[in-house]
C-alpha cells in the first residue's frame, strides 16, 4: 500500500495544527457556528443527534494492521469502544468530544491517517473496488490512480468551496465493483483499440434524494490526462453548479439541466486550455506511485491446496463460509476473504475495539498486514493462502467476524440512522436487526441466495437504498416513523435505481413484508435465477401485492412525497 513520504506527513501535521487552532477559536467564541461548520466538516466532524460524529478517512479503503490497531485504541480512548464502517470505506466514531478532536487527529497523524475532506462541500475521500489489485479479471489496478487522485485533490485550493459534496470513484474494470455510476465523477479503467490504458469517464451520478445514474462524459481519456481533465470538469461544476438550493446543487442536477451533450462540450472546451499542461501525468510519476502497490511476496503455490480441499469437504460450516466469504484471487493458491461485520443482532458495519484489534492480528498473521474496507461495510483480507483459510476461519469465528452471509440477505448495508444521525427520520439499526432475526435460518438464507438489502434512515440515502435489490427508506409521515420499500436497485455494470412498490409501512410490518417479497421470489424464480434477475424478468410491480398481502391500486401521491 502507499507509504507516506515527508511531504505527505508534513501536510497532515499542518492540517492538524490548523484545525487545532480553528477548534480553539470556536470554543473561545471567536468563530460562530456558521463559520466553524465548513471547517469542521472538512475535517470529518458532524454535529448530530446526541453527540458529534467524527468520520476518519480511509482513502480507497486501504488500511494497515498497525493503523487498525490505532483505530482500536482511539475507539477505546475517545469513544465508547465501538466504531462504524461507512458505505464509503471510512470509519466513524459517534461519541467524540469537540475539544478532543484535535488530539484524535494528532494521534491519527502519527500513523499517516487523517479526516481530511471526509465531509463538506469539497472533493471527498476517493473510493475504489475493495478487491482492487487482487481480482482475477480486472483491466488494471485502480489503486495507483486513486492515490494519484487523492494527492491532487487533497487541499486543492480552487475547489475548497464547491456547490456541494463531490464523490469520486475508480473502477479497475471490467466489472464495476466501485459503482462509478452512482458517483459525481467516476473513472473506469479501460483499454482502447490499440491496447492503451485510459479511463471511461462517468459524470453526474449520485444517490441522495434525487437518485440518478452517471452518464459517459468522455468515452476514452488517456491516463496522462487524468488530472487536467478532472480540473476542467471540477471548474465547470464550481462555476456553474447551482448554489441557491442545497438539494439541487450536486453535479447530477447540472448534468440533468444542461444535458450530457452540453456538459461534454463545456468540459472539453475548458480542458482545451489545460490539456498537456504542467499537471499532465508522467511515466515516472505513475511508476513511482504504482511501485507502492506492487504485489506482496506471494509464495508460488499450486491452484489447489489439499488441506483446504479436505477441510472444505469435511466441515460443512467451513464450506458455507468459504462459499460466501472468500473470493477468487489472481494469484494461484490465494484467496481474498471478507470478515463480516454483519453478525446477527449487531448494527451493520459496527466493530468493537476488540474486533479491530483481532482484525489487525488476523491481517498480520495471515495477510501481509493489509486490510481493506468495503462499501458493503465489511472488512477484507486481500491476500490469504488457501492453506491458511481453515485456521483463519476459526480465529475469525472467535472474534465474531465469520458470519457466513456475504452478499446474502442478512449482509445488510445500513446507515447509522436515527439512533445517531440528526438527519434521519427513522431508526435503521433496530430494523436491520429485526430483518436479520427473521432470516436467521442458514439453510433458508443460503437457498434465497444473493440479495442486496440496503436501509437508509432518510432521503439522504447514506445506506444507498436506491441501489439495493431490496431498498428500505425511513420516511416521516406526520410525525410517524415509517418505511418505504423499493425493489430492483443494483450497482455495477447493471446499475439501476430501484422502484417504489407501494405505500410506506410501520417498522413492525417491514420484516414480514420483506419475507413475503422473498417468498414471492422463491415461488417465481427459475432454476439458479438470482433475486435481482427475477425482479428484472417479472418486474418489481408483481412483488407489490405479495409485499402487502393485499392490493393498493393508489399510491401515486405517496411516491411523490417520498421522492421529495
Amino acid at each position: 500500500m502507499y507509504t507516506y513520504n515527508d511531504t505527505d506527513r508534513r501536510l497532515v501535521a499542518e492540517r492538524v495544527a490548523q484545525y487545532r487552532d480553528q477548534t480553539r477559536r470556536y470554543l473561545a467564541g471567536e468563530l460562530n457556528e456558521d463559520q466553524f461548520r465548513p471547517l469542521r466538516l472538512h475535517n470529518g466532524l458532524y454535529f448530530q443527534r446526541h453527540n458529534p460524529m467524527l468520520r476518519i478517512a480511509i482513502p480507497y479503503g486501504q488500511v494497515s494492521a498497525p493503523q487498525m490497531r490505532l483505530l482500536a485504541r482511539i475507539t477505546r480512548a475517545y469513544d465508547r469502544g465501538v466504531g462504524h464502517f461507512s458505505t464509503r470505506h471510512n470509519f466513524q466514531l459517534n461519541w467524540v468530544r469537540v475539544d478532543q478532536v484535535p488530539d484524535i487527529l494528532a494521534e491519527l497523524a502519527r500513523l499517516d491517517m487523517h479526516a481530511i475532506q471526509s465531509s463538506g462541500s469539497c472533493i471527498r475521500v476517493v473510493t475504489t473496488d475493495p478487491l482492487a489489485g487482487v481480482a482475477p479479471d480486472q483491466i488494471a489496478d485502480p489503486r495507483p490512480w486513486a492515490e494519484i487522485f487523492r494527492q491532487w485533490s487533497t487541499l486543492h485550493p480552487e475547489f475548497v468551496a464547491l456547490p456541494r459534496k463531490f464523490k469520486v470513484a475508480f473502477a479497475g474494470g471490467p466489472d464495476d465493483a466501485a459503482s462509478v455510476r452512482t458517483h459525481d465523477l467516476g473513472f473506469e479503467l479501460v483499454r482502447d483499440d490499440h491496447g492503451r490504458l485510459g479511463f471511461r469517464v462517468w459524470a453526474g451520478g449520485g444517490l441522495g434524494r434525487t437518485p440518478i445514474l452517471g452518464q459517459v462524459v468522455r468515452d476514452f481519456l488517456p491516463w496522462r490526462d487524468l488530472l487536467t481533465y478532472a480540473e476542467a470538469l471540477l471548474r465547470v461544476y464550481n462555476l456553474n453548479g447551482r448554489r441557491d438550493n442545497a438539494f439541487k446543487s450536486r453535479i447530477k442536477i447540472l448534468v440533468q439541466s444542461v444535458g450530457i451533450e452540453a456538459m461534454r462540450r463545456l468540459v472539453e472546451s475548458e480542458w482545451r486550455h489545460l490539456r498537456d499542461g504542467i499537471q499532465t501525468l508522467t511515466d515516472a510519476e505513475v511508476e513511482r506511485i504504482a511501485a507502492h502497490f506492487a504485489p506482496p511476496d506471494y509464495e508460488l503455490l499450486p491452484r489447489l491446496d489439499s488441506r483446504f480441499e479436505f477441510s472444505r469437504r469435511f466441515d460443512k460450516e467451513f464450506a458455507a463460509w468459504v462459499r460466501t466469504n472468500t473470493h477468487a484471487h489472481r494469484q494461484p493458491g490465494y484467496a481474498a476473504v471478507t470478515l463480516s461485520l454483519k453478525a446477527p443482532g449487531r448494527a451493520p458495519g459496527d466493530a468493537t475495539a476488540g474486533q479491530l484489534d483481532s482484525v489487525a492480528d488476523l491481517a498480520e498473521r495471515f495477510a501481509f498486514g493489509e486490510l481493506r474496507t468495503a462499501q458493503t461495510q465489511n472488512l477484507i483480507l486481500p491476500d490469504v493462502r488457501k492453506r491458511d483459510l481453515y485456521n483463519l476461519w476459526q480465529e475469525a469465528k472467535k472474534a465474531g467476524l465469520a458470519t457466513p452471509n456475504v452478499s446474502l440477505l442478512t449482509d445488510i448495508v445500513s446507515c447509522p440512522g436515527g439512533d445517531f444521525c440528526a438527519l434521519a427520520n427513522a431508526r435503521s439499526l433496530p430494523l436491520a436487526a429485526a430483518v436479520q432475526a427473521r432470516f436467521a435460518d442458514r439453510a433458508v438464507l443460503a437457498d434465497i441466495g444473493e440479495v442486496r438489502l440496503n436501509i437508509s434512515g432518510c432521503v439522504n440515502a447514506c445506506g444507498h437504498h436506491h441501489v439495493g435489490a431490496i431498498g428500505i427508506l425511513g420516511v416521516d409521515k406526520n410525525g410517524e416513523e415509517r418505511y418505504q420499500i423499493t425493489l430492483g436497485g443494483a450497482t455495477g455494470q447493471q446499475a439501476a435505481i430501484g422502484s417504489i412498490i407501494g405505500p410506506s409501512l410501520p417498522a413492525a410490518e417491514v420484516p414480514a413484508a420483506v419475507e413475503r417479497i422473498v417468498e414471492h421470489y422463491r415461488s417465481c424464480r427459475r432454476p439458479k435465477e438470482r433475486f435481482i434477475d427475477t425482479i428484472r424478468r417479472i418486474g418489481a410491480k408483481s412483488f407489490a401485492s405479495a409485499a402487502y398481502a393485499r392490493d393498493f391500486p393508489n399510491f401515486e401521491n405517496e411516491r411523490e412525497a417520498a421522492n421529495g
Binding site: W152, L155, A161, N238, Q279, H292
Partner: protein, 176 residues
C-alpha cells in the same frame, strides 16, 4: 470598509473604496466615491471612458470588482486599465471566486493586484493566495496573516505557479 488589509506578506492601509450599486440604482447614475475605487462590472461597462478619463484627469486609481456570477472573460480585453481587481465572496461557502481568480491569472494573464473581498475568513487565506489573490480584506489582519502559511507545501499546481510536487527537483526517485 476595512481600514487595513493584507497585501502580499504585510498589513497595509486600505487605499481603495468599493462602489456597490444599491437595489435598482442605475450604473450610469451611481456616484463615485472620492479616491481609488473598485467599480462593479456594470458600471465599468456603462461608463468605461468616463472612468478612464477620471483616472487620467484626477490621478485616482481605477479598479473593478467581480461578483460570483460575473464571467472574467468579459474583462479579458480591458485588464490593462485596472490597477486592482476585486473578487467578491458573498459567503465563505461560495467558492466561485476561486475559479474566477484562477482564470484571471492563468487564462487572461492578469498580473496586477487581485483582492479578495466580502466573506473572507483567515482560514481560507492559504487557498486564496494559491489561486492568485495577493490582497485580502479580512477581519483582524494582524493575526490573520499567520494563516497565509498554514501549509508549507502542496501536491498540485495552481495559479501561484507552484509546480506539481511530482515535477519538482527533490521529488524522490522511484521507490526501491
Amino acid at each position: 470598509m476595512a481600514k487595513t488589509l493584507i497585501k502580499g506578506d504585510s498589513v497595509v492601509a486600505n487605499e481603495w473604496k468599493v462602489l456597490r450599486l444599491a437595489e435598482g440604482e442605475s450604473p450610469e447614475a451611481a456616484k463615485l466615491p472620492f479616491g481609488n475605487v473598485l467599480v462593479p462590472l456594470a458600471v465599468w461597462r456603462a461608463r468605461k471612458w468616463d472612468l478612464v478619463r477620471r483616472h487620467w484627469d484626477q490621478g485616482h486609481l481605477l479598479g473593478i470588482w467581480l461578483g460570483p456570477k460575473d464571467d472574467p472573460a468579459q474583462l479579458a480585453a480591458d485588464l490593462a486599465h485596472f490597477s486592482a481587481i476585486g473578487v467578491h465572496f458573498p459567503l465563505a461557502g461560495d467558492g466561485r471566486g476561486y475559479s474566477i481568480a484562477t482564470l484571471l491569472r492563468t487564462r487572461y494573464g492578469y498580473t496586477g493586484e487581485l483582492r479578495a473581498i466580502g466573506a473572507v475568513g483567515r482560514d481560507y487565506l492559504h487557498f486564496l493566495r494559491r489561486v492568485g489573490f495577493d490582497a485580502f480584506e479580512v477581519n483582524d489582519p494582524e493575526s490573520a496573516i499567520d494563516s497565509l502559511d498554514d501549509f508549507s507545501d502542496a501536491y498540485q499546481t495552481a495559479a501561484d505557479g507552484r509546480l506539481p510536487w511530482f515535477r519538482r527537483a527533490g521529488a524522490p526517485a522511484l521507490a526501491a
